[in-house]
Symmetry: C2
Subunit: 241 residues, 2 copies
Amino acid sequence: AIVEALLGAYEVGSDARTDLAGRRVLMTVGPTREAIDPVRFIGNRSSGKMGYALAEALRARGARVTLIAGPTSASAPVGINRVDVESALEMEAAVMARAADCDLFVATAAVADYRPVCAADSKLKKSADEMTLRLVRNPDILARVAALPTPPFTVGFAAETEDPEGYARGKLAAKRLSLIAANRVGAGPGGFESDENALLCLWPDGGRRELPLMSKPALAKALADLIAERYAKRDATSLAS
Amino acid sequence: AIVEALLGAYEVGSDARTDLAGRRVLMTVGPTREAIDPVRFIGNRSSGKMGYALAEALRARGARVTLIAGPTSASAPVGINRVDVESALEMEAAVMARAADCDLFVATAAVADYRPVCAADSKLKKSADEMTLRLVRNPDILARVAALPTPPFTVGFAAETEDPEGYARGKLAAKRLSLIAANRVGAGPGGFESDENALLCLWPDGGRRELPLMSKPALAKALADLIAERYAKRDATSLAS
């Protein structure tokens, strides 16, 4: 047991970099659920695995991580501050209450774009053969954080089934993000509910790095490397843009 | 270890009843997910815990249980036949392929009443401030099974926020079920996502039994007792009705 403890300490020591030491990282993770009535909801297939793996990778670099977490079945990492929320509006409130006090904001959550106009208080009765559900846009939490007077370093994600690079480049510019990571979902391996993933990372002024298909923990470490690297160069980027 | 094994065997022996020995039980469990597009879906809060606990309680009485299971985060019991499905249509197909060959059908799943008219092949783009989602009724799996020429003993559940007894009595009669168990969700303890529950059980000709708030495993045993009791009297009931 002593040998294991020494080896464990050695591995942590050899793996740890401290380039994010003391940096305050606010992260969203998991899906949101938008209530239709007390039992039904609109959800999405985000497992939260990538977000949790990234939280661990950033903490391993010395960052002080706070998670705002939607309902996931993945096991949350132990020992990391976590605030559980369910809907996009709850996630927005939890983020905006803390966004002014963070150095980096990493938006891994798959926030529902729309919610039902009003959730019913009691379970809806099934009667008609067809029904329509009226939906209204949810707030764009990442855009709100990036638009703060002195925004943190913002990292976004794009999960599109078609033209992920073009879509991600547009989102990066439109929301004035510091970094965006695009993956392909609903086609081939990787993405939601998978244990593996691949990412294409983009940053302003045409910066670009491919992170090939690998396990989510390995990919999270590679992405944490890139986040730390781009964060270190943040002032140069903002001067150049 | 030998003492533990002996005690274990003794406990199983003392607890086990064999009144369902060899009976083939087909059960549905968990929620269904109805795809809106490759990443979004309509889900519900069924945890599957009650269904899994009931499957174990019925197996402990000697039944041969087959589960048709929607996506749940609860751990499925080991050693029980299970067929994983996602949507109501998939659940219906899996059930109807097996319904003629079972003695009891126990419908614990919270099947979505509606599904989107057509699921989009690629992820829907967010553009408008509002949108409407057109939904169409899903098949009523329990009613289809109960309407078979020689139906199995059918057990249904009712999870209503208002007047559970009146609603359950109506559902029992309309679908010609053998037994129905009603619980109250979205109000107070018990129900979906809870570890405890209470049930009001009804059967034809005014039969009625309250199973008070208790842990889901304990409640599952009490319900399995009642199912076995009512199943033993099935011929008397059908003669009387």
